[in-house]
Symmetry: C2
Subunit: 455 residues, 2 copies
């Protein structure tokens, strides 16, 4: 049987070791989107393998996919009658650029105050290590009351393009009663939270081609159209001044927010959003709170764009090409395929004859809402309250975790989103950090949750 | 006295040597806008120095400026009564990027058919070498009937930021009766031309700042505005669907094209513009021919823009910054300062409170029109007709040559634009080339012009 108190004591006694191991994991620049880091992906996968092996997991393996590999491992000694939890995580991280805005090296973790700064500290190596150390604390002092499987992928930050195939091909291996997804956050250091809804994603690259090659803007300006300006006009037309998306049919499948849902949602004040984002002025659709706009309403954003000469100085070129990465966050019951049709129709209707265009699907994921009245949610709720001293709140999140939709569809199980990042952790941005007190409380919460869920 | 026939014979006999020397000049990557090439700028300046010294020029010197140095040299042995011509050129070249679109290395000249491919071949090392070799042909066989000065700057491609000061400080040294500007072109291999008007330039960089740092588009999309989209909306509003500029007061100072001017202008057919540009559809203001739009009407273009993540893959970032390089080509009597005021007023009026903006002046130059009924134009006309066998046409050019306005203002002399590039030479673009038959005819034209002007 699991001995809660011994495991908690073990975790407290080993904080120094845990932190050192965490730092060694953060030093591996496992950037999934950059081909140069292919070897680092294997190093990161191997780091997890060694952890799982050292605490007695079995069938531990780096499993190939069409892209970066998946790490799998299992501990099935709780027996057939005990429930099985599949812990999901991702060992890949976002690119660190723009590098010049980091105060310390992104892959040389630095502790400043209570925060550990490094790319991937919060998203989500910190959450993986917290769970590994919770399991270690239980296994080194007693046992687990449940069976555990680990599925740690390496492509979350690029939209999990191979995860669906992997889950389909390994349906039996991954079968479970619940997916515990650590890729999540709480609201503030003193505000524990459980996430019950996530937004989906439809991410595209639009490429325009004007003349065959770059031209001299003096010789040809006035004779030939400018694809950068055409791109600007197209993008300008996609969203109105309040952020409402103008694509035809974009809102057709949006499930309206009921008054009950709105009243139950944790809405943070605008001051909080300003503080978290560093924006001095907020922005968005009329008629919704900022929290609603950022978690329960769909959006359209430019994630990147480029055309022509962008170095120092003044090159007088009339560019031949322009590119933008454009993504929409989706809410139930929007479907990425219908959004793509809508964008395609917009480009058909609005791109002038002076350019040709291509639209490439870069990533897509359906939105998700999970069951709030379940054993897992109740166990997590009790664990959080025991550690934090206050009841957790239930929140929707604006981000996308593709695996939630996939495990629902392919394995038929809900996901419990339980992770300990903070909204100001600078995910996907320079100076990403993890608040270490959350790391320690996270380990304790995972220990308590495991005992609660298995009891 | 100058002996025309001997000089022409010398030039024909030395084609092989001339070409080898030209190639050695093209091998120097004298890219003025990139700080890494500072040494190459000195190497290019030195190459000209050695040429001038070897043909007997005096006071030959690399003269410092606030930026890249100027090369000066003179041959004053024609005496006080003979006219003095100041030959203007620039030894700097545009950056070669995008490198992947070059069929051969930009600084490893390659002869394919009659064309020599290299960055700077046409703009304008080829024109400088053609004039140097014309002078050499005369001086090695007889003499010059005129005095010659050379002013070869190294900052034309970045808007000649130090040339005005240099000319002001060296007014006596540079005093002359005419500036011969080789930074020019003819219409086609069988269509010699003299340029009598140039467009001016007002080149800006606009930088927008949204939130303090890049944000996660899932967490903050819907709560915070997107500077890339704001930039697109601002740019989209600067120009209408036909290319007409929407900035308030932009057309106030434009001198209308008279019917006489329109009838005298060489207007190339649209097929020619499509062939030269590689654009399958042309574009621009209603009511003007393409040639008029590209040479005698002002324009606004985006020369480059960037925001957010532009690498491979799908980073879900909500960018904090967005930048665009925007330039206007100006015609008489527009003034760069008034255009800047107009752009600034537009940004003031249209930028939303969700961003802050900066506007930086990158380069500016007034438009220019020169005297068509002069000795210099007549001499050039006769020289071109003798070499090409047809009378030259008079053309306006869409590009900007800042020095033309400067020598008019500071030295009080007109510029004769006489160079031998072609409109399809890929200036400022990959695969720049010089049509070698034009190079040989250019040398002969410069020899004949020198004799005609001095007679």
């Amino acid at each position: 049987m699991a001995d809660l108190e011994s495991a908690l004591a073990y975790a407290r006694d080993h904080q120094k070791d845990f932190l050192e191991e965490f730092i060694s994991f953060l030093r591996i620049p496992s950037v999934s989107t950059l081909p140069d880091h292919k070897d680092d992906m294997y190093r990161a996968a191997d780091w997890i393998i060694k952890q799982l092996e050292s605490i007695g997991f079995e069938s531990v393996a780096v499993m190939p996919t069409g892209g970066h590999p998946v790490v799998y491992g299992e501990w099935m000694k709780a027996g057939e009658d005990a429930p099985t939890i599949l812990f999901y995580g991702h060992y890949d991280v976002q690119p660190p650029d723009p590098l010049e805005l980091w105060l310390s090296e992104p892959f040389e973790p630095q502790l400043r105050g209570d925060d550990l700064f490094a790319r991937g500290a919060s998203d989500m190596k910190g959450q993986i290590v917290a769970h590994l150390k919770a399991v270690e604390s239980l296994l080194r002092t007693s046992s687990l009351p449940i069976n555990m499987k680990y599925l740690i992928e390496g492509e979350e930050e690029i939209g999990s393009p191979n995860l669906g195939d992997f889950i389909t091909e390994n349906e039996n291996l991954l079968s479970c009663d619940l997916c515990l997804n650590g890729d999540s956050n709480i609201l503030a250091p003193d505000k524990p939270a459980i996430t019950f809804a996530l937004r989906g994603l439809a991410y595209f690259e639009i490429r325009l081609q004007g003349a065959a090659g770059d031209l001299h803007s003096g010789t040809f300006g006035g004779a030939v159209d400018n694809p950068a300006i055409v791109l600007c006009k197209l993008i300008a037309g996609m969203r109105d001044e309040t952020g409402r998306v103008n694509l035809l049919g974009f809102y057709d499948d949006v499930r309206p927010l009921s008054e009950r849902e709105r009243s139950e949602m944790v809405s943070m004040p605008d001051e909080w959003w300003m503080e978290q984002s560093g924006a001095s002025v907020l922005f968005g659709e009329q008629g919704f709170t900022t929290t609603e706009r950022a978690t329960a309403r769909p959006t359209l954003d430019v994630n990147g764009m480029i055309s022509g000469f962008t170095g120092k100085g003044s090159k007088t070129v009339l560019p031949a090409q322009a590119m933008a990465k454009i993504s929409m966050r989706l809410v139930p019951d929007q479907k990425p395929e219908r959004i793509k049709d809508s964008l395609e129709a917009y480009l058909e209707a609005n791109a002038p004859p002076t350019v040709t265009w291509e639209l490439e699907d870069m990533a897509s994921s359906p939105p998700a809402i999970v069951e709030r009245d379940s054993d897992a949610v109740h166990a997590a709720s009790r664990a959080l309250e025991a550690v934090w001293g206050v009841k957790p709140v239930f929140q929707r999140q604006g981000g996308t975790v593709p695996v939630v939709g996939l495990v629902q569809e392919l394995l038929g199980v809900d996901s419990l989103m339980l992770g300990f990042g903070l909204p100001d952790d600078n995910l996907h941005a320079p100076n990403e950090k993890l608040h270490l007190p959350n790391f320690w409380r996270g380990i304790e919460t995972y220990i308590r949750f495991t005992c609660e869920f298995g009891s």
